[in-house]
Amino acid sequence: MIFTLNGKEVDYKGSLNARLLDVLRDEYRLTGVKCGCKEGECGSCSVIMDGLLINSCMVALGRAEGSTIVTIEGYSGMKRFAVLEKAYASVSAVQCGFCIPGMILASECILAKNPHPTEDEIRLGISGNLCRCTGYNSIVNAIRIAAEEGDGLW
């Protein structure tokens, strides 16, 4: 079963029933993909599949055949990531950090769809990503700052 993972084509030989989250972590050692709830509630396992934010715990490998998947490890090499990283740091939007890989990828999907989102659009875009530390306001702020600072990148 072939799919593209962080820019490289991979040929996965295991079961089509395997959970993408487990395969990413255990087979490809991409441990930036976090396991929080395994039922699509928390968003910590978020990755980008074919340009859309998805929960990797909700995907069996058979559904991912031929897909393009980007995890935080692949995304962290991009210029857009650097802008988001700086923006998150500037307002202390990261505390324990567990939700942040998913939150950053959700931020990317918000800005990719709409480079200048309103606050409501930002909140909607991260509404499937739970954060127990920040209370969300600093994260919303960080995404707004990234939209300004990264103008033209998205």
Partner: protein
């Protein structure tokens, strides 16, 4: 070793469905919660025939494989269905989950299924060499029991094209995102030339199956708003008797009270 299958076309999917014992896998967002090891999936995500949203003279035809995000972004889909799709899970769930799965899951809490009940939509079910068009009400047989044969797939949902511009929809959940409804209610009040030509209500998350009582709603048919007001009490009393909620995480009493409040609010908003 359990085998799962990836179908590239509807024809191939129907053939596998006939030959093997498989669980149809649309978006997977319900299936992957349990995800037992010994299940054999039939992956439907690549089937182009199930991804279309089109319209013909009578229906908006929604491919069962369309995701909630695709529903929300379609120019053909009416707002009543978009509202329900927008209330499913969060963005990442809406990017994967499909309307076919929402219906096929058999749950009375399914957000889009509620709308298909309120709009008297139909399902197009196919097996190799055969198809059935079934009113959604007939598809649900009981709690998690659906009329889908082991060789069939839900291929399309057929929504009547118009008649629900004036609608009412509320999902009561613990929070806005990532919430399973505690009570959901969709209703339509269509008035032309001063008379009600369609009053349709559907109650979700209340009983084993979504409640749709065309017979009670028919009390409003053909009436002016003033005439409808005169039967309001009888109409409410009929639903008060018809809605028999089950207790679960929340009590039957709560569900009943919310249903009746929503129904009254719907009538109030329409001047009845």
């Amino acid at each position: 070793m359990v085998n799962s299958y990836i179908a590239e076309s509807l024809e191939e999917a129907l053939r596998i469905r006939t030959e093997k014992t498989v669980v149809p896998y649309g978006g997977g967002t319900d299936l992957m919660i349990e995800a037992p090891d010994d299940v054999s999936y039939l992956f439907l995500g690549k089937i182009p025939e199930m991804k279309n949203i089109t319209q013909d003279a009578k229906y908006i035809r929604i491919g069962a494989g369309c995701t909630f995000t695709e529903i929300i972004e379609s120019s053909l889909v009416p707002d009543i269905l978009k509202d329900a799709a927008a209330g499913v899970g969060g963005p990442a769930i809406r990017n994967l989950g499909t309307v076919g799965g929402n219906v096929g899951n058999g749950s009375p809490k399914a957000d889009c299924a509620l709308i298909f009940f309120a709009t008297d939509s139909k399902l197009r079910l196919m097996s190799a060499g055969h198809e059935r068009i079934l009113p959604i009400k007939d598809f649900y047989l009981g709690r998690k029991q659906i009329d889908l044969r082991s060789d069939e797939l839900i291929v399309e949902i057929l929504m009547p094209r118009s008649g629900y511009e004036n609608y009412y929809y509320k999902k009561i959940g613990a929070r806005n995102a990532q919430a399973i409804s505690r009570v959901s209610f969709a209703a339509i009040m269509s008035v032309s030339d001063g008379r009600i030509n369609n009053c349709a209500t559907a109650f979700g998350s209340v009983s084993d199956v979504i409640i749709r009582r065309n017979d009670i709603d028919a009390m409003m048919t053909g009436k002016t708003i003033a005439e409808a007001s005169s039967v309001r009490d009888a109409y409410l009393a009929a639903f008060d008797e018809a809605i028999v909620p089950i207790s679960g995480r929340i009590s039957a009493e709560y569900r009943k009270a919310v249903c009746m409040n929503l129904l009254r609010d719907f009538l109030d908003k329409n001047g009845i």
